[in-house]
């Protein structure tokens, strides 16, 4: 049965325990950060940062809002990254619905990064494996997944934990219970109920984010504002959805060129230039 991670933006306090838990469980190096005078620790997803909290400051006529969102792979039901990978390195785990990169198969072409409709492209490239990780592996300790230099990385849904009856590390650690994990239907029901309650409290824009353009997402959000406010596409599409149309456009161009310049110009020679050589 398809699983889901539910992130409730109305409960998140931006403590970033999820960020630390992900780093710890997956043995990912801490990000080097500059002090910017903000609450950001990591600024963006990267090869060793598979989730982070983004801070959004929103000026409204009567108030100032500080909104939080957990950026991470959405684990699309119809993942664009899987569709474009020519190496077949990304697969959807049918049991959980999580979308997983196989580091041994990935050849680092980054097509998946450009195809992903979320967060400026979720799969992020790593050219190198850190000394820490090498040491860890050299001591025979386990690292969830594999580590191969020159491949792309992203959230793995803590599949190893889930397969052993645990919840993902980020969910397990979340102090206010803003992250929950369970069957997709169950999570959706909780989300709907919560949104109804939020609306009653006056949160007019409260909504569930489970966009149908990508078949729904295993990472489901409860948002307090429009998706765009959070940097989410309102209507994300599977990037390969209109591939046929795009091919046809290219071929139409070829068709026009065949008739207009080529047929017109070169055909003229047949009449006037016969035996011209």
């Amino acid at each position: 049965m398809a699983k889901a991670i539910l992130y409730d933006a109305s409960k998140c306090t931006a403590c970033r325990a999820c960020y630390v838990a992900c780093k710890q469980w997956n043995v990912l190096a801490a990000a080097e950060v500059k002090k910017l005078g903000t609450y950001y620790n990591a600024l963006d997803l990267d090869g060793t940062t598979w989730n982070l909290i983004d801070f959004i400051e929103k000026d409204e006529p009567d108030r100032f809002r500080w909104l939080f969102i957990s950026k991470r792979c959405m684990h699309c039901a119809e993942p664009s990254c899987v569709n474009v990978c020519a190496a077949g390195a990304i697969k959807k785990d049918l049991e959980t619905g999580f979308v997983l990169v196989d580091q041994d198969v990935c050849i680092g072409c980054k097509n998946c990064h450009y195809a992903c409709p979320f967060w400026g492209g979720v799969p992020r490239f790593r050219g190198e494996i850190s000394e820490d990780e090498k040491e860890w592996l050299a001591h025979g300790k386990k690292i969830p997944g594999k580590r191969v230099a020159g491949t792309v990385y992203k959230c793995r849904g803590c599949i190893d934990r889930v397969q052993n009856g645990l919840t993902p590390a980020c969910v397990k650690t979340c102090p206010p219970g803003a992250l929950q994990f369970g069957e997709k239907e169950e999570m959706l029901a909780i989300a709907e109920a919560r949104v109804a309650a939020l609306k009653e409290r006056g949160e007019a824009k409260a909504q569930v984010y489970n966009p149908s353009g990508v078949g729904g997402t295993a990472v489901t959000y409860i948002l307090l504002d429009d998706p765009e406010t959070y940097g989410l596409p309102a209507d994300p599409r599977v990037s390969t959805a209109d591939m046929l149309t795009k091919w046809i456009m290219g071929l139409i161009a070829a068709g026009i060129l065949t008739v207009v310049p080529f047929w017109m110009v070169f055909k003229a020679a047949e009449a006037e230039g016969k035996g011209g050589e």
Partner: protein, 299 residues
């Protein structure tokens, strides 16, 4: 703002340029020969000789640009119809064999007398040449569709990018054949005139394709409109207006129209023809450059 995700660079832009160029060399020459009932066979020959070196260079660049080039075979053993990259591997393979190897082999047999068993087999040559031409079109198309199925507004918010790429590829293919025809000892002025005339029309079509793409992007609003603004009036406006439009499209168009107007009285100077073809080729590369870099601004 998303930082540190500018993964694709000029190498991929060059690869896309070379892919389109190789494809167009094959089909432009083939059309020239077929529609003129053989009068312009020489153009097909020139085009077909260009295919293999260009593909080889392009593939070298592609593989070098991969993070794990030694694992390139993962692409080859995988057939994934939903991946344009995977489609491209197969299209390119068939194209390289038919248009890049077999067709030129027939021409070589005729020219140099090597592989004598191929000599004079015109029917067989034309068959392979046509397969090469069709897969050449698909190759040129693939370089555009590859970008068009991403989640990058400039590339994928409208379906028109492949049109621009195919038009641009065609123009560069004609220009390369023209450039070489112009260097041959015994010049065929009539054929060159036809190439120039054809190219000038292709350039006009390319301009229209650009307009369609930019109008559609702007009309789509949101990120798509922002993406169009990047090249029309933003960060990449200079590259677009001066590099692509002025140097790559309008300048060679003007030269070609001028050549056509004087052709009846005197032969247009060879230097001018060379200049026009070089400008078209540079312009074609700038088109790929523009989209590669311009696409990264709005994500």
């Amino acid at each position: 703002m998303h930082e540190g995700t500018h993964y694709w660079h000029y190498l991929l832009a060059i690869y896309l340029f070379l892919g389109g160029l190789a494809g167009a060399c094959a089909y432009s020459g083939t059309f020239a020969e077929a529609f003129s009932k053989g009068r312009y066979k020489n153009l097909a020959k020139i085009g077909s000789y260009c295919v293999l070196p260009i593909i080889a260079l392009g593939l070298l660049i592609l593989v070098v640009d991969l993070a794990r080039p030694l694992y390139f075979w993962h692409f080859i053993i995988t057939c994934r119809p939903s991946s344009v990259m995977s489609q491209g591997v197969w299209i390119l393979t068939i194209f390289a064999i038919t248009g890049g190897v077999i067709t030129p082999a027939f021409f070589l047999a005729e020219d140099r007398g090597i592989l004598p068993f191929l000599k004079g087999k015109e029917g067989a040559r034309k068959l392979f040449q046509w397969i090469g031409a069709i897969f050449g079109i698909l190759t040129a198309g693939y370089t555009g569709v590859l970008l068009a199925v991403k989640s990058v507004p400039l590339w994928s918010a409208t379906p028109f990018l492949p049109m621009v790429f195919v038009a641009s590829a065609t123009s560069t293919g004609l220009a390369l054949i023209l450039l070489i025809a112009n260097m041959q000892a015994k010049k065929d002025e009539v054929a060159m005139g036809a190439l120039e005339k054809a190219d000038s029309i292709v350039i006009v079509i390319e301009l229209i394709a650009f307009a369609v793409l930019l109008i559609a992007l702007s009309g789509a609003g949101g990120l798509a409109a922002d993406a169009a603004a990047v090249i029309v009036s933003g960060e990449y406006a200079f590259l677009f207006w001066v590099g692509v439009v002025l140097i790559g499209l309008l300048a060679p168009l003007a030269i070609e129209l001028y050549s056509a107007s004087v052709a009846k009285k005197a032969h247009p100077p060879a230097g001018l023809t060379t200049l026009a073809s070089v400008l078209v080729l540079v312009g074609g590369l700038l088109v790929r450059w523009l989209f590669m870099y311009g696409g990264h601004v709005v994500r």
